[in-house]
Amino acid sequence: MKTAVDIRNLHYTYPDGKIALHGVSFSIREGERIGLIGPNGSGKSTLLLHLNGILPDPLHAPPAVSIMERPLDKTSVGAIRRDVGLLFQDPDDQLFCPTVYEDVAFGPKQFGMQTAETRAMIQRALEQTDLLGFEDRSPHHLSGGEKRRVCLGGVLACEPKILALDEPTSNLDPRGKRKLKEILRSLQATQIIATHDLELVVELCSRTIVLDQGRIIADGDTIELLGNEALMLEHGLETPHILRHRHPH
């Protein structure tokens, strides 16, 4: 099986001098679903922005990141942005087109695909995210959960091999969360989910990476890590209830 993501000794300092990532290394196999957890400001979002070369700007000379066994540098960044779909935290940042359809179609259009093929991809993305019938709506008329699904649709329309999701369940009501989980579970792509929603991690991810102050604190089996209450509390997290009472409801 291929290695989907490989990161070797990644450092990043913000322009204002704040160190965001401090020697991060890990690798993810194709098809894995990984939870990326850690307190606020631990570097989760910054790490995700490195996966498709949005950061660092400009790109480092010896690349610290490899995607699908291809080093991320100036020549490969275009192709890698197709491979890695990034879901941003605030849906309003990501929904920049006047209608839902145009937004979902934005990616495929940028990658210069043929129209018939593009249309099929967009159609598939709309189906996967349960958005049929929303095509002509404008994003500012949608609810939070719908906006999130359109964002995901826009990402899925590019048919990425790797999905990097930043807080996919924040601000969603329980139904929205359930629906999103269902969609994520149905997808084949490798997924990295940065989140504070620890129950989501328990339900979806078999492996978890704990990040704090730009360093990887732990990397391993989700149940084992999240069940380690001392570790969780030390890094601003907690053992989710779902692990405390494991009895059938």
Binding site: R81, R82, L86, D90, F96, P98, S138
Partner: protein
């Protein structure tokens, strides 16, 4: 929060709304060109054009006060400019001409933008081979006006819930800092939007 007040009538159903957006765009464009280029000798044509526009307004079922309030807001700017012509000799005629032309033009454009959903208007402009960069800017502007209004509203509410004095001076300082905040937030948001666009292949 929903902000429909900007163009809430652009999606209702009427004979005018059902016209193809391309046709409406062409008609409006020709009207504007006619209004600014008809010589003053043919002044009698202006009431006629006004009548046609009023007819279209009635057909469109958009509430008349809504359209006139829009017109009034924009009229401030044209009055300001037209006033300058009063300073010239024989300026009165020029003033009247300027006001008539600009009012009719504004009326046309307001009617167009309120009887056609913005996305369709953009689509029509695209088919007319309008420069893509301007279209992108227009689309982004329309998209984020609502987000900015929401943000402004949230900030005002948050401020109001914590400010107890009704002193006029402090009110103005608050407003100034709100506008400053909004500017900073918009710049940061612009950066995030650009990142999101790049992530999906924008070059």
């Amino acid at each position: 929060m929903r902000h429909d007040f900007l163009d809430k009538y652009s999606r209702i159903n009427s004979p005018i709304h059902r016209l193809p957006s391309m046709a409406k765009l062409w008609i409006s464009f020709s009207l504007v060109v006619a209004i600014i280029s008809i010589p003053l000798r043919f002044f009698f044509l202006f009431p006629f054009i006004g009548g046609v526009l009023l007819g279209a307004l009635l057909l469109s079922r958009i509430p008349i006060p809504f359209i006139f309030s829009r017109l009034l807001i924009l009229e401030f700017f044209t009055v300001g400019i037209a006033m300058l012509s009063l300073l010239r000799p024989n300026g009165t005629m020029l003033f009247i001409a300027l006001m008539t032309r600009s009012t009719l033009c504004l009326f046309t454009v307001i009617l167009l933008s309120n009887s056609t959903p913005f996305a369709e208007l953009l689509e029509a402009l695209k088919r007319l081979k309008f420069p893509p960069l301007i279209l992108t800017i227009l689309a982004l502007m329309y998209r984020y006006i609502f987000v900015l209004i929401d943000e402004m509203e949230r900030m005002t509410r948050a401020r109001e819930s914590r400010s107890f004095s009704v002193n006029r001076r402090s009110r103005w300082t608050l407003l100034a800092s709100l506008i400053g905040q909004l500017f900073i937030r918009s710049t940061e948001r612009a950066e995030r939007i650009y990142a999101a666009m790049s992530a999906r292949g924008w070059k």
